[in-house]
């Protein structure tokens, strides 16, 4: 994509779209002092490379990816890239935190960390961008958002959550500090299998989780949409994570400190 290299004195945004991980990831930069795309370029290049690397290692659609080879038993975990061990370790933590409601080992066809990887990769991309001096960045991977800063030096990002029952509207908005992931019945079915029954069944129409890390937010949102109230109570007990659940009847429930925006 092409943009002007000179600084704009007004508040500006700069958007980059990257086709990766089977979707388009949008990287939005905000700075009320103006943004120079030339200054951002090295950070952007690293962030984009991080996303493509995650796709290369973890794509279950590519038969020769390390995760596909591990699933088939062609290689052992010790022979896979070190990131595979890191991600699977984090998935185990998420499985324990959710008392089994998030469980990549329960999916058909062998371990599938796809429900964690998209958020994990976007979080790593944000970490690459944190070295730049830009005031705020959002990395939106098909509805799951990692961020730091805000639209200007004084405000947090304001983010809407889609209303699953009334598609022309947003259900609500929140002040975003860090990450938010949303899972819903309109998402890829293989993420939304009940690990205890093996059925394609969800208790909620939509589940959103916000917190410092998008990978864990994504895992918690997946657990919440499948597990319902039990998982909402588990998340309420976590220090850094908050959740909002939307039922099939449109009822909204949220944890005590969910940062709803008026």
């Amino acid at each position: 994509m092409s943009t002007a290299g000179s600084r704009d004195p007004r508040p500006t945004t700069f958007r980059h779209r990257e086709e990766v991980m089977g979707t388009i990831v949008t990287l939005d930069f905000f700075d009320d002092r103006g943004i120079s795309s030339d200054e951002l370029r090295p950070f952007l290049d690293n962030a984009v490379a991080t996303l493509h690397h995650a796709d290369k290692v973890f794509s279950t659609w590519k038969p020769d990816s390390p995760i596909s080879r591990l699933r088939r038993g062609d290689i052992t975990l010790g022979e896979a890239p070190v990131e595979v061990t890191e991600v699977l370790d984090r998935c185990k933590v998420a499985r324990e935190m959710t008392r089994g409601w998030f469980d990549p080992w329960s999916l058909p066809g062998g371990v599938d960390p796809t429900g964690y990887v998209k958020g994990w990769a976007a979080q790593r991309a944000i970490d690459e961008l944190a070295g730049s001096e830009v005031e705020g960045v959002m990395v939106n991977a098909a509805g799951d958002i990692a961020s730091f800063g805000g639209p200007d030096s004084a405000s947090p990002f304001r983010v809407g959550i889609l209303n699953p029952a009334s598609p022309k509207t947003l259900a609500c908005a929140l002040d975003l500090r860090g990450a938010i992931a949303t899972s819903g019945t309109y998402e890829r079915g293989e993420h939304l299998i009940n690990p205890f029954t093996g059925e394609l069944a969800t208790k909620l129409a939509s589940a959103s989780v916000t917190g410092p890390d998008l990978g864990l937010s994504d895992a918690l949102a997946t657990a919440l949409v499948v597990g319902g109230d039990e998982v909402l109570e588990l998340i309420d007990e976590l220090n850094d994570y908050e959740a909002l659940a939307i039922g099939y009847d449109g009822t909204m429930k949220w944890t005590s400190e969910f940062p709803l925006s008026p």
């Binding site: 304001r158 983010v159 809407g160 947003l170 949303t182 079915g189």
Partner: protein, 85 residues
């Protein structure tokens, strides 16, 4: 526009230099059952996402959006045809 489970095209209505309406013009998925059930939910929400992105008070939208890649590429094509960007 080909996407994972079929063909998608997007129509964009422009008034006064801004997008006033985004809608799905045609959708053909070859009768794929899973794709149909996804489309019924996801496509209206993608329309909303495109509109919400123009709102001055919201910088992003969180939601499940399986067909977002196909939608956004198609939207870009439509805007290019109209002389935007």
């Amino acid at each position: 526009m080909n996407y994972n489970f079929g063909v998608l095209s997007v129509s964009v209505t422009v008034g006064g230099g801004t997008i006033t309406k985004v809608s799905i013009a045609t959708l053909s998925d070859g009768g794929n059952f899973r794709s149909q059930s996804i489309d019924q939910m996801a496509i209206p929400q993608l329309e909303q996402q495109a509109m919400a992105a123009q709102s001055a008070s919201i910088q992003g939208v969180s939601g499940a959006s399986y067909t977002s890649a196909g939608f956004e590429l198609s939207l870009q094509d439509a805007l290019k045809t109209l002389g935007f960007k």
